[in-house]
Amino acid sequence: MTKTTAGFNKKSFISKLKKNDFVKNRGRYVLLLPSIIFMTVFAYIPMIGIVISFQNYDPVAGFFGSPWIGIENFKFFFEGSEWLQVTLNTLYLNALFIITGTVMSIVIAVIMSELKSKMFTRTTQTLMTLPNFVSWATIALFSVAFFESRGIVNAVITAVGGESVSFYSNPDVWVGVFVIIRAWKGSGWGAIIYMAAILSIDKEIYEAAKIDGANKLRCIFKITLPLIKNMVVLMTIMAIGGIFRGDFGMIYPFVGDNSMLYPTTDVIDTYVFRALRSFTNYGRAAAVGLYQSVMGFVLVIFANKLAKRYAPESAMF
């Protein structure tokens, strides 16, 4: 490296310029540019725009021209009782989804990896992963045929002597309904990652256990499950990081604006959406969004700490 001692040295300026990464790798930076612009506009400007949660937002004045009002918007949200309900609903539903999804996926993965017939495995796996590719909107429309007052489910219930359930006005059934539908839709797909983990287990371990007289069930509990533990921990930690994010894409198609179902199904995301639509005050709605983002971020950090302690190789950063 040459150091210019006095004044402007053209030669060293050029050589310096050539060493500058933005000049040296200009081709790559050009390729990167569209996504940098994209991220600035669609991720970082909204992040800055979150300042409106401390403002009485005025659309004409914009993100920085609106009057500042401190934490009034947050007070409005936290003084009501709804914040607790939507937060608890979000956490409760997501916790149930994580537990049932993980258990179902592991059960399917273990079972599928024990099957001998290739043809059978491939066919059943095709069917099990199919629902994952269909949108929640379509599945919600499917569900009409099952949940309507004279739908399939009620036909079955009345056939076995039960009393028909009116799904669209009974909030209590929806926690169970969502858990079941979600397991139906996602666990076949979720099993794939665990199946890969099981496939990578050394076959000699099973051979050795067999010679020692262990039966299949014992092998599953003593070999398979302990050896995929890390993967389970990793996936669970990633899921915990997202536990504050309500699944708007799933819940809204089913529930829509049917307020009778809100007591169990209203999550932070559906609440924010309604706030956007009905409040004229964007600042208040944004405050709820900020609360969710901050809590979510804290949980990701927390989940990562957990990962570092219990499964160091699965920590994200």
Partner: protein, 304 residues
Amino acid sequence: MERTKTLKVMKTKRNVSDRILLAVFYAFATVFAVLCLYPFLQVFISSFADEVTLTREGYKLIPSKFSADAWKTLFGSNEIIFAYGLTIGITVVGTVVSVIITAMAAYALSGKALKYRNFFNFLYYLTMLFSGGLIPYYILITNYLQLKNNLLVYIIPAAFNVWNMFLLRNFFNDIPESLIESARLDGASEFVTAFRIVIPLSLPALATIGLFTALSFWNEWMTSMLYMDNEKYYTLQYLIVRMVNNVSAASNAGQSGLPAGVVSVPANTLRLATAIATIGPIILLYPFLQRYFVAGLRVGGVKG
């Protein structure tokens, strides 16, 4: 002698228990697979039910009277056909744009070429952990970018996907560095290297990303709900969401979702037919999707 005997007994015992277990496993796999398929079949069959009979008798495993009215109405409905075409258009254009921009960024950040790559990795990664939330985003799109009621709102805000970028970057990282370096030494520019060497070698990865991107465009409806006032510009999926919400609202208002009496439009069966029609392309693409399942295994690989 005694010992081999007990061993033999143990072995047969084990074989029996293993056989029973295997039978249970086969049964479970069969039942679950059938349960996964059943709703599709049920809806498909019910879409061919006669509307009046369906209204009178409710849904049945096999309808007592068949009719193709729903499908005739579907293909005669301008609204649905237009939405179908629009959604196909958005999916094709959006996927091409998104995959190109995502692949460009993934290539730029792959390998060890960029001195500041870690800074950019962090910048991109952070957006997966923290976001400004819906409201500032909504204000950005409607007030600042003026994309409300503009078809570009389907494409531009979805033109890049961080998650896919990291997946693709990891694929690119697996390409031997020496291959890229020797091309560069031979005088190939970054663009030539990217398009002649890296991309042809990563076609399976690109196909995977492409298929998943296409699927997310195809299944998109929130954009219509938030940014479109004109019903003409609704995507197919949003038409569906509105259909479900109408049923839910109708039963909430105390009526049955099935209106009594003779109906001129086969509303219920039309809904089912529409649902089947939207998954048509997915079923067609499914064999291709399935080939690339392995890509789904790389979820854990999105490390900075």
